[in-house]
């Protein structure tokens, strides 16, 4: 008898404490929600029904705190993060959803590399144009998510204005000036200057290469072309034609002179990752997101720095978009969220916290952005440098429906010459030709 009463008491006590906790929590959240909900009710008076919005992202968009902020501003909205492990998985998921004409996520994040494919099915996506976003981005950025007849299907998130990251200690070892201004001046504005300095660097035999991978340089050079692979008017493949824009780039990068300056690494491999911590190469093409990768790969290497320069002219590498499927149940609420997430105020916060550089013109000149320095890169004013690199960007290359596949085949062609060294430049180009012809 005594035992049972004790048990009973314990159970009631437990239940009571849980009930107390639960009620405490709920009352707490109620009281904290009240002021904000009354504030937000003025801007979205119509929407009080409970809505769940699923946002499909990949890598790191830096939205965690912003989701919380948005949910407290709009108590009726719950945001679910649907993050893919690899960006390739996210791309396959989007394409499968479009192919089956189903809506799995209310907002879909897409890399600029996939935008050409998504622009082929504009009907799947909601027209996102509105007065508030009219001049939010520079023309080259919004052009990437605008169809031929002027429908805006994606809000730009981040951008990748390219600079050059370099190793101070290796520059000093080669007898070159190593402060940011001198390095920027020495690298110069053309690729010829860059490779000339590379030759000088290599002649000092420091044991390090001048750059990491010709595949990476090619990406930077492709971003400076008008139409690397396809005809902007007809979308026909021009990469193999006599007046191909990519062939001269390929020939330059696979020339003996340039190959001699390469560290013969393939981007994103474990070897490439490990090389950042060693004395493997002195320079590296460096969009803002690359600074995060360098920091992550070589946390103890204190000699990386950023120079405010880009050979061949200012250009952009990477950056993403948020898209809203038109058939989503809460497409309007999703559009409002996507609008809010890509607002300059929010993207400036993301840059300060995560380092994803904003693509919104207003955000790139925001004092919180331009004032950011990076202790890892010797206290370099990265905010100001990338802002300087961003302003002069005028164009993005034309990317047609074959861009993704051709770019991968080109990457393979470089790897065969630069990394595995299994083919001569000419043989590897022949294999590239076969791969491109197979697309037709």
């Amino acid at each position: 008898m005594r035992k049972t009463t004790r048990k009973f008491l314990a159970v009631t006590a437990g239940v009571a404490s849980i009930a107390l906790l639960a009620s405490a929590c709920s009352s707490d959240s109620n009281s904290s929600d009240d002021p904000s909900s009354s504030a937000s009710s003025s801007e979205s008076a119509a929407s009080t029904e409970k809505i769940t919005l699923k946002v499909a992202t990949f890598n790191e968009f830096g939205y965690k705190d912003l989701y919380k902020e948005y949910m407290s501003l709009h108590p009726n909205i719950t945001i679910v993060d649907d993050k893919a492990a690899k960006s390739d998985d996210a791309r396959a998921a989007v394409q499968t959803a479009i192919g089956a004409d189903t809506v799995k996520d209310d907002i879909i994040a897409a890399d600029s590399d996939w935008m050409p494919e998504l622009l082929e099915t504009p009907d799947y996506f909601l027209d996102l144009a509105s007065d508030t976003v009219k001049d939010r981005w520079p023309a080259w950025k919004s052009a990437l998510s605008t169809t031929a007849d002027g429908k805006l299907i994606g809000y730009g998130t981040d951008a990748g204005p390219e600079a050059i990251c370099y190793r101070k200690d290796l520059f000093e070892k080669a007898g070159l000036a190593s402060d940011r201004e001198s390095v920027a001046k020495a690298i110069g504005t053309s690729w010829d200057d860059y490779f000339a300095l590379g030759e000088k660097f290599m002649s000092k035999k420091t044991g390090a290469a001048w750059f990491d991978s010709i595949g990476a340089l090619s990406q930077g050079m492709v971003n400076q072309l008008d139409a690397p692979f396809e005809n902007p008017e007809t979308d026909e493949i021009t990469a193999l034609d006599a007046d191909s824009q990519i062939k001269p780039v390929y020939d330059l990068l696979t020339s003996d002179k340039v190959l001699a300056q390469s560290a013969h690494l393939q981007q994103w491999t474990p070897d490439w990752n490990a090389a950042f911590a060693k004395d493997a190469f002195a320079t590296q093409l460096c969009p803002p997101w690359m600074t995060q990768i360098i920091t992550g790969n070589a946390p103890d290497q204190k000699n990386w720095d950023v120079a405010d320069v880009m050979p061949g002219g200012a250009s952009n590498w990477g950056g993403s978009f948020l898209l809203v499927p038109a058939k989503g149940k809460n497409a309007d609420a999703a559009k409002a969220l996507a609008d809010w997430l890509t607002d300059p105020v929010q993207t400036a916060k993301i840059f300060v916290q995560y380092g994803n550089f904003p693509s919104q013109t207003a955000a790139t000149t925001d004092p919180s952005v331009t004032g950011k320095t990076d202790a890892y890169f010797g206290g370099a004013p990265t905010g100001q440098i990338f802002s300087n690199r961003f302003a002069p960007i005028e164009k993005q290359p034309y990317r047609g429906s074959h861009y993704f596949a051709i770019n991968q085949a080109l990457g393979d062609a470089y790897t065969r010459v630069d990394v595995t060294k299994s083919d001569s430049a000419a043989d590897s180009w022949k294999k590239f030709e076969t791969a491109v012809k197979d697309l037709g």
Binding site: P270, A413, T415, S422, T434
Partner: protein, 336 residues
Amino acid sequence: MTSTQTPQFAGPTSGEDGDRQQRRVGFSQKLGRWDVKLSPYLYISPFFILFLVVGLFPLLYTAFVSIHDWDLIKGQGDSVGLKNYDWVLHSETFWKSVRNTFSIFLLSSVPQIIIALVLAAILDANLRAKTFWRMGVLVPYVVAPVAVSLIFGQLFADQSGTINQILTNLGLPTIGWHADVLPSHIAIASMVNFRWTGYNTLILLAAMQAIPRDLYEAAIIDGATRVRQFFSITIPMLRPTMIFVIITSTIGGLQIFDEPRLFDQDGRGGADGQYLTVTNYIYQLGWTNRNFGRASAVAWILFLIILVIALINLMITRRIASDQSAGEKKRKKVRA
């Protein structure tokens, strides 16, 4: 196997029931007869309905897709007859992927079954803490393929990898695990073996434990050594299980996807298709090149290849089975 056996079971029972039926008439009896006649099929029907939906339908639909121009996003295009098959059979990359698939399959399945057999024989012996050792071999199977690929990625990295570091320290030339064809196959096969050897070991071990112990006792009395016992008793008695293990690992081996896809960061089978397998090629055609027509054609060719190999397996199975009964007769004669 079960599907062909079940109706046989139902046959004699229902016949017996039919004789009784003629004597007593009534609806409930009729129901009872239907019950006996139909329920076995009803009980196995979930599997076949499921098979129809997720097996047969996709198979036929893939055949339908393969004779069309079919874009991943835009969907069905014109009907093109056998053009996709023609293209695939004339594609150098396709034959490369067939070569890679068979090479990786042989490099993984053969050592895997031999090692599993030896491990099972050791585990079958009187060990202390049996369960511990037996569960131990299964641990790699539990590890997720992605985690396995991370571990092996560190081992087989071309410059910074553990194996090449050791080779360098020993003054030996490094191996291009991602650059050369055979080393890349060996590396991938070792990932497969790491994962599946333990699984096969346990199946073989279970079969070994079912071998009557008196056979071994008789052999010991006859003065047979452990090795002789293994080759003359264990292996012949394991034949049916061996066939099962070989068939399942053949199917798995020809459809190998995860390991080569996770072997590098791109997952496209190497810059020169050094380790591009047929299933990876299907993925590449379908999702990178967005050509579902060609991808489906490759899928069907792979299906036919597996069918041919399964038939060869079946023939060998029959021969071994008859060999076994012949062997048993011989043994009986010897004993008598």
